[in-house]
């Protein structure tokens, strides 16, 4: 599964994207797996209410299921316009 990071999430984790092997059922499960890996993930995912997630480029919730998803992206609230 491709996992993408943007803005300060990208800066804290230190990379813009990576391929992750995971059996996580939901986005929240994937976040827990990542947090368990290394401190920099923990630093990025401390406060989920400050984060947004997109599955295959569509906004989703943290309890959304990952089955069939190829691309997961984590980022802060958007500031377009």
């Amino acid at each position: 599964m491709e996992v993408l990071y943007f803005a300060w999430v990208r800066e804290r984790i230190g990379l813009p994207r990576e391929t992750v092997e995971t059996q996580a059922a939901t986005v929240a499960d994937l976040v827990e797996e990542l947090k368990a890996r290394e401190e920099r993930y923990n630093a990025a995912f401390t406060d989920l209410s400050a984060l947004r997630v997109a599955l295959d480029q569509e906004l989703a919730d943290f309890d959304a299921r990952l089955e069939g998803v190829r691309e997961v992206a984590f980022f802060p609230p958007m500031t377009g316009g």
Partner: protein, 146 residues
């Protein structure tokens, strides 16, 4: 309907005039332009990051939603990413409609969605350092009216 995501500056006058021309069925054209504002402590530049692929999809979905919801004859969205200095234009939207209320509401609807639902992130660079622009509660709240 046209959506463009680009690094290059755009020529607002040329785009606005081209959009407005030839719409003999449309009595009303509204444009909105967002400009990099100088901040209190002196902004050197703004850098805008985006999510290639999702950005275009989100903007097109928002433009379609606006056309479906208001009586719009045409919509244009241009949004830049990359580095911009104070005074430079970040983005523009334009709407054409038979009546002014639809043109205004279509443009406001697009802007409200673009602010909080299009995957762009702004970082401001001043003499004191760099800081990500925080999303504003009022921008999130603005969505509730639609």
């Amino acid at each position: 309907m046209e959506v463009r995501v680009q690094v290059e500056p755009f020529d607002f006058g040329v785009e606005a005039a081209a959009f407005a021309e030839g719409h003999t069925k449309m009595g009303a054209v509204v444009t909105f332009t967002g400009i990099v504002r100088d901040v209190a402590d002196g902004l050197d530049r703004m850098e805008i990051e985006h999510y290639p692929g999702m950005t275009e999809k989100a903007l097109e979905a928002q433009a379609h939603a606006a056309v479906g919801r208001f009586k719009l004859g045409d919509v244009l969205v241009i949004h830049r990413h990359g580095t911009m200095r104070p005074g430079e234009m970040i983005m523009m939207v334009a709407t054409a409609a038979p009546h002014r209320t639809d043109a205004f509401q279509g443009a406001e609807f697009l802007m409200d969605y673009l602010k909080s639902r299009a995957p762009f992130w702004k970082k401001e660079y001043t003499a004191d350092g760099a800081e990500w622009v925080a999303a504003k509660d009022e921008d999130e709240d603005a969505l509730s009216r639609w």
